[in-house]
């Protein structure tokens, strides 16, 4: 790389040292008016190449967009939150499909590591909520393991009532804050879609 640029510098230097200025080129002759079929063919050929390349690029872009969309879809499915009833850690029937989907993605991606964080609303007891959060995280972990997910792909933590999604004090906020959150800690990019 370095030697080549040195060579170019040398050539430029040689041209500059040529002394006499180069004679100006004569004005180009007016273009022939006759139809040059060879040129047209060449042009058509080039156009078709360009079109094919554009189609290929569009297809590739579409594929990339689809892949990115699939990735964000998979990421969203992995991260989808599940909710719990007051002072309960049972998986609700309406959350089973959400967890089933996570299980499929985890099994299709053995390198994916998932942190499951259990949360509680700010009623109940501050300290008991730490245990409750841990139990909620474990409930999802156990459900996923029963679906075939390797134990080594999951770990659990509890945030108790310390990290509310919604800091308000009303039924809607409490319901939001009783949840499990799912965060990939490794292998979260380039996920394979389950078959």
């Amino acid at each position: 790389m370095k030697s080549r640029s040195l060579l170019v510098l040398a050539l430029v230097a040689a041209a500059a040292c040529g002394g006499k200025k180069p004679v100006e080129a004569p004005a180009p002759a007016p273009a022939p008016t006759a139809i040059d079929s060879t040129a047209i063919k060449a042009q058509m050929r080039q156009d078709s190449i360009n079109a094919a390349e554009a189609r290929a690029r569009a297809a590739a872009d579409a594929a990339a967009r689809a892949a990115a969309q699939r990735q964000s879809q998979l990421a969203a499915e992995i991260a989808a939150v599940i909710h719990f009833d007051y002072d309960k850690s049972d998986i609700k029937p309406e959350d089973q499909a959400t967890l089933d989907r996570k299980a499929a993605i985890l099994m299709a991606n053995p390198g994916l590591q998932l942190l499951i964080a259990g949360n509680a609303d700010n009623r109940g007891s501050v300290e008991y909520n730490l245990s409750l959060g841990n139990r909620r995280a474990a409930a999802a972990q156990r459900y996923l393991a029963n679906k075939g997910v390797a134990a080594g792909q999951m770990s659990i933590v509890s945030y108790g009532e310390e990290r509310p999604v919604n800091p308000a004090d009303n039924e809607a906020a409490w319901a939001e804050n009783r949840n499990d959150q799912f965060t990939p800690t490794a292998g979260g990019s380039n996920l394979m879609a389950p078959k």
Binding site: Y86, D87, S89, L115, A117, R123, G124, S125, V126, E127, Y128, L130, S131, L132, N134, R135, A137, A138, A139, Q141, R142, S155, I156, V157, S158, Y159, G160, E162
Partner: protein, 431 residues
């Protein structure tokens, strides 16, 4: 002066009501002095000495907060103090039975307990009170108050105490009268479950990190901190010192979703041992009996959290606070009383926690609160005052109740308060 006389008259008016309580017959033949009768609130006056208005104000409030006396309030700097002799006749008119006289004598403060009825000095003792600007000024004055309570009742007061509380994510200490609110953990850290060591020199708490929480023991005087051995991984919380301060019991989560109790020798940083094995239950919030031989704790083994008890080695686990299966609300936050006779805890009634007292001997309990949400009771060292968190004022604040009289007061702090823990008495200078 007129105002105080009015107070005296009002107080006299209330006397017949108090007299309705059945009382043993008293021989009224010769009055040789009074004896303190538990359950009554004798009238007491703090007799001011010149230059001691601020000391007197603190003592007066301490004695009021002791809930053992009806403190007659005289305006500061009134003409009754400073005289060579105490005007017993005047205080008798006000209905006072006891007088606490404060007087500066040769660089010290002499404190005398007068029996107003008999017109005699019952006790006297000199105290060294530092300059008002000195950091231990208030605690030194509180010591006078606690001693005065002991002279009269036989049991010292609890003015020389402090509480640990959480304000947001940070632990603070505050004097039991609400003065001197001081942060004790760094602003950058989230902590939980702050608790005093029995000698008041150290605190323990959970440092709440991303998914783990070690327990830290911190010396207050030096700020030196160390992680309790065995708490480096998982979430470790609800630390509680044994009464001798050598052992720390705490709850620890596991990766199977359980929470179990452990104990570790914090004096030697060794010998971690597991106290509960709850495969399908959580065990947390340990609290030692004052003899150190039993631990009350919360267990979810009956399905909802309830109050259990075991030997401090983990054997002989059994239910402590009776409950009705399926009907009684979750029960949490137990703390064993300093005299060992009771365990305070909170139990949900219609989804609102209320403070309860369990008599350990009879296993009978009674509900202490009903207004708002009331939780996390913690005992004063006198075994009769409890601090707890209540939202009765609209936001979560610490309130202090005298379990004997039912008198209640707020410990005003700015912000929402959680997880109070009351210290033992600070004998010498507090850290």
């Amino acid at each position: 002066m007129r105002a105080c006389l009015a107070v005296g008259v009002l107080a006299l008016v209330t006397v017949p009501l108090a007299a309705q309580d059945p009382a043993p017959p008293i021989d009224r033949g010769v009055r040789v002095g009074i004896t303190y009768t538990p359950g009554t609130r004798p009238r007491l006056v703090v007799i001011p000495g010149p230059g001691l208005d601020s000391v007197r104000a603190i003592v007066q409030r301490d004695l009021d907060y002791s809930d053992r006396f009806e403190v007659l309030l005289l305006p500061p700097g009134d003409a009754t103090g400073g005289a060579a002799t105490v005007n017993y006749a005047l205080y008798r008119t006000l209905g006072a039975e006891y007088g606490i006289e404060l007087r500066l004598e040769g660089g010290r403060m002499s404190v005398r307990l007068h029996d107003i009825g008999a017109g005699t000095v019952r006790q006297q003792q000199p105290f060294v009170i530092p300059e008002q600007s000195a950091p231990d000024f208030r605690m030194s004055v509180h010591q006078v108050s606690d001693e005065a309570v002991r002279w009269i009742t036989g049991t010292p007061g609890v003015a020389t105490t402090r509480l640990l509380v959480l304000l947001g994510k940070r632990a603070y200490r505050v004097d039991s009268d609400g003065a001197d609110v001081t942060a004790v953990t760094p602003a950058s850290e989230s902590v939980l479950s702050p608790t005093w060591s029995p000698d008041g020199q150290s605190i323990a708490y959970t440092r709440f990190l991303d998914g783990t929480g070690p327990i830290i023991v911190q010396r207050l005087a030096t700020g030196e901190r160390r992680t309790v051995t065995g708490t480096e991984s998982q979430l470790n919380f609800t630390p509680a010192f044994s009464p001798d301060g050598r052992t720390l019991a705490f709850a620890r989560t596991d990766q199977q979703g359980g929470t179990d109790l452990y104990a570790v020798n914090v004096a030697d940083q060794c010998c971690l041992r597991r106290l509960t094995v709850g495969r399908f239950a959580d065990n947390l919030s340990p609290t030692y009996a004052p003899d150190g031989r039993r631990i009350a704790f919360v267990s979810t083994r009956p399905g909802s959290p309830q109050i259990y008890v075991m030997s401090s080695d983990g054997t002989d686990q059994e239910l402590l606070a009776p409950y009705d299966y399926g009907a009684t609300g979750p029960s949490n936050g137990p703390e064993w009383s300093p005299d060992g006779a009771a365990v305070a805890f909170h139990r949900e009634i219609d989804r609102a926690p209320q403070v309860f007292l369990l008599d350990v001997g009879s296993r009978r309990y009674k509900q202490l609160t009903s207004s708002g949400r009331n939780s996390d009771p913690t005992w004063a060292p006198d075994g009769r005052h409890l601090a707890f968190v209540s939202d009765r004022s609209g936001r979560r604040q610490v309130w202090i109740i005298d379990t004997e009289t039912g008198r209640i007061r707020q410990l005003p702090l700015s912000g929402e308060v959680r997880l109070p823990h009351w210290s033992r008495r600070f004998g010498g200078a507090a850290p």
